[in-house]
Amino acid sequence: MTEVFDEIVHAPNRLKICAFLDAIDSAEFSVLRDMLGVADSVLSKHVKALQDAGYAEVSKPTGQGRVKTWVKLTPRGRRAYADHVAALKRLFEH
């Protein structure tokens, strides 16, 4: 079973981040933090893991007053998440 699940996406908080970002296109860091109910440092760690895997992109648009961090899934991240969800669904097909 484990070979069909994506180990990066599998972690509960990262799965929620992926599900949230897949549902929309991009979200500000504080929105993700509030959704998970975790500290900034915890979210940073998970976002970094997704970034390192090439699953998420982080941007800090300037020129809008205070700089905010925005996170979005890459096409590779969307595919990995979709494959993970497909594997989950297969689990309940029989």
Binding site: H10, A19, A27, E28, V31, V85, E93
Partner: protein
Amino acid sequence: MENVTGWGSSEIASGSEQLAAIAQARAAAADRLTTPWWYHPTLGLLCAAYVPAVSFGAAAWRAVAVVLFVCAGAALVQAYRRQTGVWVSGFHRGRSRRWAIATSLLLGLTVAGGLATAQLTDRGWVVWLLSAVAFVGVNAFGRAYDAALRADLRARP
């Protein structure tokens, strides 16, 4: 312990928790997607102004109108992002996509109709009527899009 599919009972329980977590995150996204009250009216006004702007006047003025429309649209998107902390492309998959396509078609048809009317006839009032249609349509379709998107997100992943 494994069932006939080869999955262990602990794996199935974990899978069930994962699907629940996904549903929870998508519901949170749906809750977050509350469009500011000013978004659709402002977008409607932009589209309503765009129709006569490209219908009447010389080619140079039309080019200016296109640039102004794109810049104003981009500023509106930035204002939405700043207020909500999220952004959704209008052409996300699901039922909401139909409303995004319908809105694009509405704008395209009202602009094309206005341009053709202004160039080929002297019935300027038709252009203003199409402008009003664009305003009402963008507002109505925008709200339908929001409702469909929230329903899509709350549906199964």
